[in-house]
């Protein structure tokens, strides 16, 4: 009878340590920064706004330069070119950011 109790004890203790380890582990790997950019529509919105923003800034800069220096069409042309290049750069960066943001599981987003 005393032997019985002795046999009952070890498994429950084992189970306890297993549960303890599980609870601790669960807390430890809770931190996993994720970046996701939602739906395809959201993505498209984001990319087009990047391109548009670059273009607008370029045009504004060129137009302002023309107004100040009187270089009439050239500033605007250069601005459009620069703005477009910057917009493309923005888009490339945004795509890279959404594609690479979580290094481990970036594939999930595509």
């Amino acid at each position: 009878m005393a032997d019985d109790a002795g046999k009952q004890q070890p498994p429950s203790l084992d189970e306890f340590s297993k549960r303890l380890a599980a609870a601790r582990g669960g807390d430890a790997n809770a931190k996993e920064p994720r970046a996701k950019d939602g739906s395809g529509m959201g993505r498209a919105f984001r990319l087009s706004s990047e391109l548009l923003a670059g273009l607008i800034v370029g045009v504004l800069l060129g137009w302002g330069l023309d107004r100040l220096a009187g270089t009439s069409p050239w500033g605007l042309l250069a601005g459009i070119f620069l703005g477009f290049a910057a917009g493309v750069l923005n888009v490339a960066r945004a795509m890279k950011a959404t594609g690479n943001a979580p290094p481990a599981d970036g594939r999930n987003d595509d």
Partner: protein, 190 residues
């Protein structure tokens, strides 16, 4: 009114009746009306600043504090659980040790008891043997005595018979010596 007409008029909101405020707001986006910008910026600064103040001076310190505290507390609880587990293991080991100890002691006591009982038994047996031997000897002595007695009585009876037979045969009383020697002779012959 056909369905097409409905769809067209719904999609062309300009056709919908303008209820009010049609005065200064011309066509185009209300968002592009720069005259509303100062007011929007002012109130944005006020409200956003106020929210920032609330967050930094009340909400975030307490929220961060309680989360921190809980994290510590959980870590503490885990440590405590590990401590309990260690203690349980210790108790189990102590229990096993005590059990083994008790078993060994029980075995020793049993052996000791058995030994002393054996001794006692042997003593009793010896005593009994002695008693039996003594009574045996006494009995033998009595038997021997009774045998002797019996033999003597048989001889006496024989002598009596002899005497009576002789008297009857020759009408002469034999002397006891003669009977005795005669009986001795018979006993020797036998």
């Amino acid at each position: 009114m056909s369905l097409v007409a409905i769809l067209v008029s719904a999609a062309a909101p300009a056709a919908a009746p303008v209820v009010e405020g049609a005065g200064e707001a011309g066509p185009g986006l209300p968002q592009m009306d720069a005259s509303t910008y100062p007011s929007q910026l002012f109130w944005l600064a006020v409200t956003f600043g106020f929210l920032y103040w609330i967050m930094t001076s009340f909400v975030l310190p307490r929220l961060g504090g309680v989360i921190e505290e809980r994290r510590d507390r959980i870590a503490d609880d885990f440590d405590q659980a590990a401590e309990f587990k260690r203690k349980a293991e210790e108790a189990e080991a102590a229990y096993e040790a005590a059990l083994a100890d008790a078993k060994a002691r029980a075995r020793a006591i049993a052996a000791e008891t058995r030994e002393s009982l054996n001794e006692e038994l042997a003593e009793l047996q010896r005593e009994a043997d002695a008693r039996v031997a003594a009574s045996l000897a006494a009995a033998e002595a009595r038997i021997a005595a009774m045998k002797e007695d019996a033999a003597a009585k048989v001889r006496e009876a024989a002598a009596e018979v002899t005497r009576a037979v002789v008297e009857a045969l020759i009408d002469e009383t034999p002397t006891p010596e003669a009977v005795d020697s005669a009986l001795n002779g018979v006993a020797k012959a036998a």
